[in-house]
Subunit: 205 residues, 2 copies
Amino acid sequence: MRDINTDLRVVRTKESIRHALVELINEKGFEAITVKDITTRAKINRGTFYAHYQDKFDLMTKCEEKIMLDMSKITKQNFPSVIAALETDSQPLAPFSLTVSLSEYLNINSGFMKAVLGPKGDLSFQTRLKEFMWETLYGNNPNAFIKEENFLVPGQYLASYMGTAIIGVIQQWLESGRKESPQEMARILTTITVNGPYFAAGLKK
Amino acid sequence: MRDINTDLRVVRTKESIRHALVELINEKGFEAITVKDITTRAKINRGTFYAHYQDKFDLMTKCEEKIMLDMSKITKQNFPSVIAALETDSQPLAPFSLTVSLSEYLNINSGFMKAVLGPKGDLSFQTRLKEFMWETLYGNNPNAFIKEENFLVPGQYLASYMGTAIIGVIQQWLESGRKESPQEMARILTTITVNGPYFAAGLKK
DNA sequence: GTAATACACAACAGGTTGTTTATTATTATA
DNA sequence: TATAATAATAAACAACCTGTTGTGTATTAC
C-alpha cells in the first residue's frame, strides 16, 4: 500500500502546478489561463495535470479549500479565547489575537492570496471568504449583531458591509506590497471596523 | 451617409446580444460563457457578433463603460450640491441626494448590475466601480479624508474599506431581491458608512 | 533489488475561436 | 415607392484547447 500524498513525485508535481497557477493568475488573470499554460509553465505533461485535477477550476477549488481549512484551524486554535470573549461580552468582536493570527497567515500565504484576491483573481473565492470572515469574526457572537430588532440597519446589510470591508482592507494591504506588519494590520482592521471610518480618520474622538 | 447607431437592425442586434449576456451571466457566470452561447441565445449569426465586438471581453467592457458613463453623468448633475456640501463641509460625505440618485440608477439597471456584481460576475468591473464609488462619494472632498497626518489608520485602507463596503451593501441588496426602496438604501448606506457598524447595529447612541 | 506507479509522449475526436466568402434580407432615403 | 446601401446570414477554414487513452520509461517506496 502506497500513499499518494507522500510520493515525492506527486508532491513535486503538485507544487509546481500550484506555483505556476499563482504566477499565471498574477500575469494574465485566472480567466485567461488554460490548462496548457499551467502545464507548460510547470514543465509537466498535460496528461499529468489531468491525473491530479479534473480541470483548472478543480485545481483552483482545491487550492482554495486548503486556505479555508487552514483558516478554520487557526480559528479553532483560538477558540478558548473566543469563548471567553463571548461570555464576558461587551464588544461584538473577535479577540484581537485571532485577528493577528489570521493576518499572519495571510502574510505567509501572500503569494496565493494576492493572486486570488487581486483584480484578476477568483470572485467566487472572495464571496466564500467574505462569508467565512463574517462568521469567524462576528457571526458566532450571540450578544453582538444578532438582535435584529435593535438594528438601525437590517442585519444582512451590516453583515455584508463588515465582510466586504475586511476583504477590501486585506486586498489593499496585499496589493500595496504588505508594508505594514500583520500585527499592525490587525490593529487597523479592528480600529476601522469597530469604530467606523470617522474615528479611524481621526475626525471623532 | 448612414448612421450605424440608428439603423434598426444594429440596434436590435446589439440589444439582443446584451440581453443574452445578462441572462447567461446569471445562469453560468461570465467566465463560462462562450461567444457561441451568446449568439445562440441572442438568435444571431456568430459572424454578426464579431462584426460588432472583438470578443466577449470587448462586449463586457462596452456594457460596463456605458454604466460608468451614466453614473458619472448622474454625479455631474448633482455637482452643484456636491460643491455646496464641500464648501460648508463638516461631513466627509457626498450629498444624500446623490446617493439617492445613484441608488435609483442601480435599481433601474438591476438586471445588468446584479449580473456583473453577483458571485458569477466580473471582478475587474467591481474593482473599477469601487474606485469610482470612493472618488465620487468621498474622494473629492479636500476637508475630509485627505489630511493623511491625522489618520489613526492609513488613508489607503480607509479608502479601500469605504469602497468595498459600499459595493458589498449594494451586492447584498441586489442579491436579496431589492426589497428596500432606493431611498431606503441610500439611508442605509449613509448610516452604516458614516457612523460605523456599532451605531448602525443600535449598540451606540 | 523489485514491484508499484507516476510521469512523458503521442494521438484522438470534439468543441471554440476568429476570419472570410458569397448570398439574402432589411433599412434609409430621395 | 424604388433603389442603393449595408446588415445579417450560412458555410467553410485553420488554429487552438480540451479531455481521454495507450504505450513505454523513470522514479519511488518497501
